[in-house]
Symmetry: none
DNA sequence: GCCTAGGTCCCGTAC
DNA sequence: GTACGGGGCCTAGGC
């Protein structure tokens, strides 16, 4: 729980005050929220310029930086975790520099007004669990291979071959090799091409027949056309149904399967 | 600028207080920041569960919702813009529901403690511009010379001549010499004079016709006047397009490998 | 370090 | 509306 000493909330703080508190926050790896009027420069893989306006800036304890406008999911400027932070004063403005290597990038935020500065030591050990992801579908198919077809026997998953990673491969009831590409959304042309890439490679490499099956909740018309012309197959698989299968088999872990 | 009436900052507010203020904020499309201890459920394309922990929640005026942990660029849970918001009380907890159609999704946030509630009417008309660097533009033109004109063939770049470095020079489809000066922002008179300097030098040095082309996203009126009087040319080149050409080229090289 | 691939991707754009 | 591609994508995992 937050002690009062772990919380700083300042309304309309002076620039000098903000700078002092920020540098302390950076040192002690606190999470910081700044609301105020600012402009932002970015230089790195591209360059950008954002003119003055009122925004929310979040600086996290791992050094990630987010500049949020009043609309939209995405930050207008940002820096991923691991950047070096610096707060300084120039021309009566608060300047926050966030610098990163690899790729070498800099975000510089110029505040001419700060309405709110707040600094926290956030304690967050809560576990995050995601269900009905592609990984869930993969695990469900390994547990219940009839989701693909009767007689399908998986041999391995996430297998690295020359062009990339094969989601699942195995053999069908007639002993033919089967490559399965899984998508958790409506499969598009790209997904078909991905599958085709693996099938093509394995056909050449093994000099034997290889079936390619795209497993997804749906497939777009164009993707289906492409799929058929490439003599690949589609199998409708529902991510939620996969999740239900996993719930039934909760104890078994993915790695147990092949032991 | 923020009037005091446009700003609400409450430290350790009561749940009832938060609910009242939130519903008003939702109605009046304010931007809201809540810091406190919460858990989060998500149901939609997938499902997720996040256990209790201290987090930052941002609710924007367009109905987008972000739940941020103390680390990382990405929100742990979110809702893109256009969702319906609701704040209510249950079991002494503050519940915020954000519901969206197409796809049908719900994020529910349960707060058992609120440390900070702040509500703003953010005024932000600042223009955002994304640029490629001048070097990026140069590389894009070398890869795709038709950005200058049909039939242009670059010969060299960053070539040192008496007055300085020529960005790119080459020949046009008629075999005439072409000097290209690149600017990543609206070109001004200085840019025109820089180009004129190179062209002048080469005309004298080589005793042959030399075309001068200024490549930039835009040109100022005065600079254009000067350009025309000096019988130089302007070619509009979009930095974003350059950036895309570079990206595509990078991808193409990788995918070529598998063809 | 590079490369591969997924994402509740989001977002714009073309059809 | 659906489909497709791009992103400063970010992030995780393998080599």
């Amino acid at each position: 729980m937050q002690d009062s000493e772990h919380i700083i909330i300042c309304e309309n703080p002076s620039i000098n005050d903000v700078i002092a508190k920020l540098n302390e926050a950076f040192n002690e790896r606190r999470t910081t929220i700044i609301v105020g009027s600012c402009r932002v420069d970015y230089h790195g893989r591209a360059s950008s310029k954002l003119e003055y306006g009122e925004r929310i800036v979040i600086i996290k304890e791992d050094g990630s930086v987010l500049v949020h406008r009043s609309k939209g999911y995405e930050p207008v400027n940002w820096q991923p975790s691991g950047c070096v932070l610096q707060a300084l004063k120039d021309n009566d403005e608060l300047i926050i520099k966030a610098t990163k290597r690899n790729p070498s990038e800099t975000v510089t935020i110029f505040f001419d007004r700060v309405y709110l500065l707040s600094i926290f030591k956030l304690i967050d050990e809560g576990k995050f669990s995601l269900y009905a992801s592609e990984e869930d579908m993969q695990r469900a198919i390994l547990i219940e291979p009839t989701l693909i077809e009767e007689g399908f026997k998986p041999i391995d998953y996430e297998r690295k071959v020359e062009p990339g990673f094969i989601d699942i491969y195995g053999v069908d009831k007639n002993g033919r090799m089967v490559v399965v590409e899984i998508k958790r959304r409506t499969a598009n042309k790209e997904a078909v091409l991905q599958l085709a890439k693996y099938v093509e490679y394995l056909r050449k490499d093994l000099s034997r027949e290889v079936r390619g099956i795209l497993a997804a909740p749906d497939i777009s018309r164009e993707a289906n056309h492409l799929l058929l012309s490439l003599k690949l197959e589609f199998r409708r698989v529902d991510p939620k149904k996969c999740f239900k299968i996993l719930k039934k088999n909760r104890v078994r872990k993915i790695t147990d399967f092949f032991k």
